[in-house]
Assembly symmetry: C3
Homo-oligomer: 280 residues x 3
């Protein structure tokens, strides 16, 4: 039984609003604007520092760092590396979002290389989590399909490189260690069918994870809090929208409006049983 | 008399919704987010893969590729070339959007170079189409002005490099071969005076062309379908907006809401007579 | 007593709408889309030309140029330099927006280097203006804090490199020479508490400054006009929004709707007394 719950999410949200953590994003050109708006609406701030000259220095002072592999080129790939290394060295929590890993060989190598700097959390969709676990040399789950629950074995396998892993889908599955050091599984329901019709909702969730890692008690709690904030806000947004354009607008309004009471009333955060054989 | 009509547009739209084609975009940093939202709202999907390491491999598996010259630099220009070459080689339909060609010499050379890979369709505004035809060595139309009908001779001249060409304006003019191989002209009326007040409406139309090329019977029908989907959606959006901000939101909602019946009821797709002397 | 007033702002707005100046933006990837939408909504146009091959040639023909240091890399930094040099050489007004200067050493060097090309105006938040003045070799104001009025001594110090300087905040402070060549101070009240919750509102203001410099009687009047257009529009937007998402939409609608009468009725533009010792 996990001790992660709507209450720990509500506490993390209150800490976010009180501390306004500064995220450093190294993200793709599709999501850069929306991700920053998501962070500002949710209650954090963001600086997009992705050049190799400044990325390391800033990672040492940021509250959290996001490395998103959405549109890498040689210049930003070099910045990813120095930012991840500096974050690890300075003790800044950082998030790896392995966009497109698996199908695209060049960025898959980048992702594997970055694992050495021990991301605090990894967030992806099911196929990315499965692919990344396979690339890391562990083939558990690599042959499984695309439902987010199918990514749980791969997510567990990735815990050798990171503290917490999530696989996004209609239901989000998160694994990591609770406050007692026990590996647990947490699932978050909610969201909206319009989320996949708006680009960068996943990438911006990665940014929000970086913000929550800066304020939460544990990486697992930060990762769960970010997913839950998004799930609750997107449910509210769907009720206030008539299509993907108005949904995106309502989503930013809802991220801003959601508070600890909203979370306690609406969050659907539950433990789920891990597959047999998981080492604690 | 062209066999392209509201009915062929409605069929293409149904095919788009059924097949959800995956577009690969190589587009400018201004339009990357909006273009992806347009594709998701309309019913396609998009991956922005514009680095030289991955652009060719992905072009071989994408449903359609967009090469947009809006904000080229040395790195993306190299990716444009390998993506276009790979698309041609793999038989993936690809679209050239020659943003800014004519006035800007460096990208004009890039555009001319890309013509060798036979874009499936070329989409631009009137002055870009006229300029590109002139750069290609054919000066017909180069000295004409900026109304989209003035670009028809240039569009016809470009058919030596491509299968279908459109010139956007208050009325859109499209030329290409019909199912019998006869060169025909099709014009699409509609749209909104607010379209030019929202950035990336033209660039995202280019992305939508790439999506429709993946599902339509002929390049001409795909090009006409994309223009018509946009024209109908923007008319609906204008009726639901009070300025360019709310128009952009309503436009995404309308792209999502428009279905085959809406197209049959509202599309204004007509043949127009080509200038004398066009070779069939 | 300054001769800059709501009337000069209204005149500048009428000139903007009549002339539709073409801005060249070299801006960061977070703001590129929103900045262009702000310019189109306000009544200008924009071309984002930031590669080193085309940046100088375009700066010679643009109405105004924006150089924004938000997300520089080696390629765009080279383009900044040739654009600024070409703008100065051609007499095109240009704006420097020193995003992040002070805390980030690499871009701070870029900013100092650009000062040699005499930006027509400099726009930043208080800490950036203070930092830039310090980097320029003049330490007046460098040790002061973050309220925008605290940046006035630094803004005055920067007048050795530029014609007009603004420091954004809840109240905006602007300094520069009036039509008689006298250094004056102008403050603009208004705005909205939601402005800092939407990314790129500051960066897009920089773009709007470039547009107004192309049409205003003096750099000071152009800088004040841009700030005032934004302040009035954001007040209207706040009244039409329920959070940062709907605020951003209403803000674009309001930039479009505001006309000279709105400005005369709502603008809060006042002189303020400069610190003792300012040389005229």
């Amino acid at each position: 039984m996990s001790d992660v719950s709507a209450d720990t999410v509500a506490s993390a949200l209150e800490a976010l609003r009180a501390q306004v953590p500064l995220v450093q994003s190294l993200t793709n050109i599709v999501s850069a604007n929306f991700l920053t708006n998501v962070l500002l609406a949710a209650g954090a701030s963001n600086a997009h520092i992705d050049n190799v000259h400044e990325a390391a220095g800033f990672a040492a002072i940021a509250g959290g760092v996001l490395v998103n592999l959405g549109t890498p080129d040689d210049a930003t790939a070099a910045a990813f590396r120095v930012a991840a290394e500096a974050a690890q060295s300075a003790g800044t929590p950082w998030v790896l979002d392995p966009v497109g890993v698996g199908g695209l060989p060049w960025r898959s190598e980048i992702a594997v290389d970055l694992l050495q700097f021990h991301p605090t959390a990894i967030r992806g969709n099911a196929s990315e989590i499965i692919a990344l676990a396979g690339l890391g040399g562990d083939t558990r789950g690599v042959d499984s399909a695309s439902d987010s629950i199918d990514a749980v074995p791969a997510a567990l396998a990735l815990l050798k490189y990171t503290d917490a892993v999530s696989a996004s889908g209609p239901v989000d599955y998160v694994v990591g260690r609770d406050r007692d050091g026990v590996v647990v599984g947490v699932k978050i329901s909610g969201g909206s069918a319009l989320l996949p019709r708006v680009t960068s909702t996943g990438c911006s969730l990665g940014g929000l994870v970086a913000a929550y890692l800066a304020v939460a008690q544990t990486p697992l709690e930060g990762l769960v809090a970010a997913h839950t904030h998004v799930a609750v806000a997107s449910e509210i947004a769907e009720a206030n929208s008539t299509g993907p354009g108005s949904f995106a607008v309502a989503y930013l309004d809802a991220l801003y409006a959601v508070d600890a009471d909203t979370v306690r009333a609406r969050a659907r955060v539950e433990s789920f049983e891990l597959p047999a054989g998981v080492q604690n």
